[in-house]
């Protein structure tokens, strides 16, 4: 039960500007509901215009298929490939979340021997480019590992999942650290005075209370991760972007370029936009209640 901070408690406060909650990337309320409809509408119009426009211009040019037909023809393959992107994002998120929660708990350990390395690992993976980490995992994890006679294969896409889960782990670790530190010390003290050990306090008292705080940035992180999945095409794992480029070279039509890329952008937009909107809404609700 946090007591509201009164201005008197803030040293040398200015009457006009009270400290706001520290802003995080995820703290940004993104979407007015208005933009929701507008954005989707505008995107659709842009897409249709670029798809239909050229097809009229080309109408007299012979038996060429219309852009719309081509896009529709490719849609089942695109859907399948996009599903693979989603699969990668779910696996990477699951691994990254589990590792990140653990690392975050280590980051608030009272022992410097544990806390410092955990901090270092977090900072390292948080500040390394996602693409470089992907390269790292793709090129340096062996394609199979033989442990005690059991051979575990590591196909490219699993290595890519690991590569993507590393930054997720680091971000998650930071969110956990922030959330744990935001729980009032009174919670630790009262648990301590009731005889809870540190581990019990963490598991039964502190961690359940962090969920609310971590949920919005966690969802935001998932959207960011999903938008990072096309990166795996650069390191040779085929997914929706590789498929798109293959489709474009198979069709070999310049007028298909813009509609096709817009089409792929739409797929991601339609998947990620609701997540961002929901995140924003949750943030606003919890920021009032907590």
């Amino acid at each position: 039960m946090k007591k509201a901070v009164t201005p008197e408690q803030i040293k040398g406060h200015l009457p006009v500007l009270l400290p706001t909650r520290k802003l995080m990337l995820s703290d940004i309320p993104l979407h007015d509901r208005l933009f929701n409809i507008w954005t989707a509408g505008a995107l659709l119009i842009a897409f249709l215009a670029s798809a239909i426009g050229p097809s009229f211009a080309q109408a007299g040019a012979g038996p060429a298929r219309s852009i719309i037909t081509i896009l529709l023809d490719w849609t089942p393959s695109i859907a399948k490939a996009f599903g693979f992107n989603v699969l990668i994002s779910i696996f990477a998120m699951a691994i990254g979340t589990v590792l990140g929660v653990g690392l975050g708990v280590l980051q608030v350990s009272p022992r410097a021997v544990i806390r410092r390395p955990a901090w270092l690992v977090t900072q390292f993976f948080r500040n390394s480019p996602w693409l470089v980490l992907l390269f790292y995992c793709i090129l340096l994890i062996p394609f199979k590992i033989t442990l005690f006679g059991v051979t575990i294969p590591f196909p490219g896409w699993i290595k890519a999942v690991i590569g993507l889960s590393l930054p997720v782990m680091a971000y998650m670790s930071e969110y956990m650290r922030g959330a744990i530190n935001s729980i009032p010390t009174g919670q630790w003290e009262s648990a301590q005075s009731l005889g809870f050990t540190r581990g019990q306090t963490m598991r039964d008292i502190i961690l359940p209370q962090t969920i609310k705080r971590v949920l919005p940035p966690w969802m935001n992180l998932y959207a960011v991760l999903t938008m990072a999945t096309p990166l795996v095409s650069i390191v040779g794992v085929s997914e929706v972007m590789s498929l798109t480029r293959a489709a474009l070279s198979a069709e070999g039509r310049v007028d298909l370029l813009i509609p096709m890329y817009l089409y792929i952008l739409c797929w991601f937009f339609i998947y990620c936009y609701p997540i961002s909107t929901l995140t924003g809404r949750l943030e606003r609700r919890y920021s009032v209640k907590l």
Binding site: G12, L25, S233, V254, L262
Partner: protein, 244 residues
């Protein structure tokens, strides 16, 4: 088991042709310089986009506000790599001029497209960051300024913007660090930045592991410099009574 041991071999910096070989060192430094150039130009452009966009979102015209909102939503919810491809492969293919030799030449180089694409991507988020900073400036402060006779523009320039900037500092820092990390995407359109030259070197010298470690350390170094600069800036902006 052997492969595990092999993988964990502690000769991480064994074949450092980047340090020893003049040609590779020059190449690597050029890549580093390219990454720094990309980062700095994109940071400045994205800040400009952010301030401009946030100002427009406070404008009276609904059409203007809605179009900025559209821009932000679009760039925030689509993959930066696909954005980059869209600019480079789709728009870049169409935007061509006839060169001196009579052949079509791209109007914008891959470096140019990387700058445009990355600046728009980071700028869109900066707009959101600045806007929430502006919204966090207490109404009472603005009213006090109005009561003192400041004009709308003066209020924005002297009161809202300086306070909003301070409020936004930490989110802004995160975004700019992200931007530097995202410059690696330029690899995909063959801009010879750090990752690109590193990949060239390791495919020629087959010293993947060493180059990888050098590369990671380079980025951690660049980010560390940026974080340090941001920290200094934040400290310079800080005044008693706000922030810790």
């Amino acid at each position: 088991m052997e492969t595990v041991l092999d993988w964990l071999r502690p000769d991480w910096f064994f074949d450092l042709s980047v340090v020893g070989d003049d040609y590779n060192r020059a190449r690597y430094l050029n890549g580093l310089w390219m990454t720094v150039k990309l980062s700095v130009i994109c940071i400045l452009l994205s800040l400009g986009i952010g301030i401009l966009g946030a100002a427009i979102q406070g404008a009276k015209s609904r059409a203007l506000r809605v179009s900025v909102g559209f821009f932000v939503a679009f760039f925030r919810n689509t993959p930066p790599l696909v954005q980059l491809y869209f600019f480079y492969f789709a728009i870049g293919t169409i935007l061509r001029i006839t060169g001196e030799n009579g052949l079509p030449q791209p109007l914008v180089s891959s470096f140019g497209w990387a700058i445009i694409s990355l600046s728009l991507f980071a700028g869109a988020l900066n707009i959101e960051i600045f806007r929430s900073g502006v919204e966090a400036v207490p109404k009472a402060t603005i009213e006090a300024a109005e009561a003192l006779g400041y004009t709308r523009l003066q209020i924005y320039r002297y009161i809202v913007l300086p306070l909003a900037l301070r409020i936004s500092m930490s989110a802004l820092g995160t975004n700019l660090v992200n931007l530097v990390k995202t410059t690696t995407l330029a690899y995909a359109i063959a801009v010879p930045e750090l990752l690109y030259v590193a990949a060239q070197i390791w495919s020629e010298d087959l010293n993947v592991r060493e180059m990888m470690n050098v590369l990671l350390l380079s980025y951690v170094g660049i980010v560390a410099v940026l974080v340090w600069v941001l920290h200094r800036w934040e400290k310079a902006l800080r005044f008693p009574g706000y922030g810790g």
